[in-house]
């Protein structure tokens, strides 16, 4: 796995300090909002949006609205994070819905997505 670098585990939890610790000097970009129906049909738009923010460095995703999600969506996010990681950026979550947590947990992708551990319980 190319993008899986060693990474400090604390990053995800220490939300408050993250932005200052990150290499990005701009203020954290506005969270990218994942749509309620985050299934395959929504991927083209989501992909475009993610590509648009890729350079921003410290990315925050808002998963609170997600009601429907599929493997394609989670894969897109995994690959997004992989690329972000490779560029030295960071990914954190502004919040996640139960549907998102359930799907990521079931597919074993929570770690690759840097999902907050406590959300998975």
């Amino acid at each position: 796995m190319a993008g899986k670098r060693a990474r400090q585990q604390g990053t995800g939890e220490a939300d408050a300090e993250v932005s200052s610790a990150s290499s990005a000097d701009t203020a954290a970009a506005a969270p990218v909002l994942l749509p309620a129906d985050c299934r395959m049909a929504a991927q083209a738009a989501l992909k475009a949006e993610l590509l648009g923010v890729l350079k921003a460095g410290a990315i925050v995703l808002d998963g609170t609205q997600v009601e429907r999600v599929d493997t394609a969506a989670l894969q897109l996010l995994v690959l997004f994070r992989r690329e972000l990681d490779a560029q030295g950026g960071t990914l954190r979550w502004h919040g996640t819905s139960d549907a998102l947590n359930e799907a990521a947990g079931l597919l074993g992708l929570a770690q690759l997505l840097n999902l907050p551990a406590e959300a998975l319980a």
Binding site: R39, M40, A41, D70, A72
Partner: protein, 120 residues
């Protein structure tokens, strides 16, 4: 519940499928061949398509192929309603992009179980 498209040239078969699914709370649209199904599908977004294999005008296999090429239907489950003796047809359907199949004859319970399986 889910929006489902049921495609079959046999009215009785289609009726049985639609009736059963509606009874379970689904919203079912019926079409009697592949061509009509494509017309309906284009202007709508179904979460599941159930289609007979052998139909006039456009058969189920061609329909699946067309559906998969349409935006919004790339990952939608499409189940072929087929008879066990037609293994080649099964494979042909799969090659066209069908998700799986429901072997005729099936009873309402089997239908609901399979639909539940696909819709998760």
């Amino acid at each position: 519940m889910a929006k489902i498209l049921a495609v079959d040239d046999s009215a009785s078969m289609r009726g049985m499928v639609a009736f059963t699914l509606r009874g379970a709370g689904h919203e079912v649209t019926e079409a009697e061949n592949g061509q009509l199904a494509l017309d309906v599908a284009r202007g709508s977004s179904f979460e599941l398509v159930l289609a007979d294999v052998n139909m006039p005008v456009m058969d189920g296999i061609a329909m699946v192929r067309e559906l998969r090429a349409m935006d919004g239907y790339k990952g939608v489950p499409i189940l072929m309603l087929t008879t066990e003796s037609h293994t080649e047809k099964k494979m042909e359907g799969k090659a066209a992009g069908a998700t799986g199949w429901l072997v005729k004859p099936f009873d309402p319970e089997q239908l609901l179980a399979t639909v539940k399986r696909v819709l998760g």
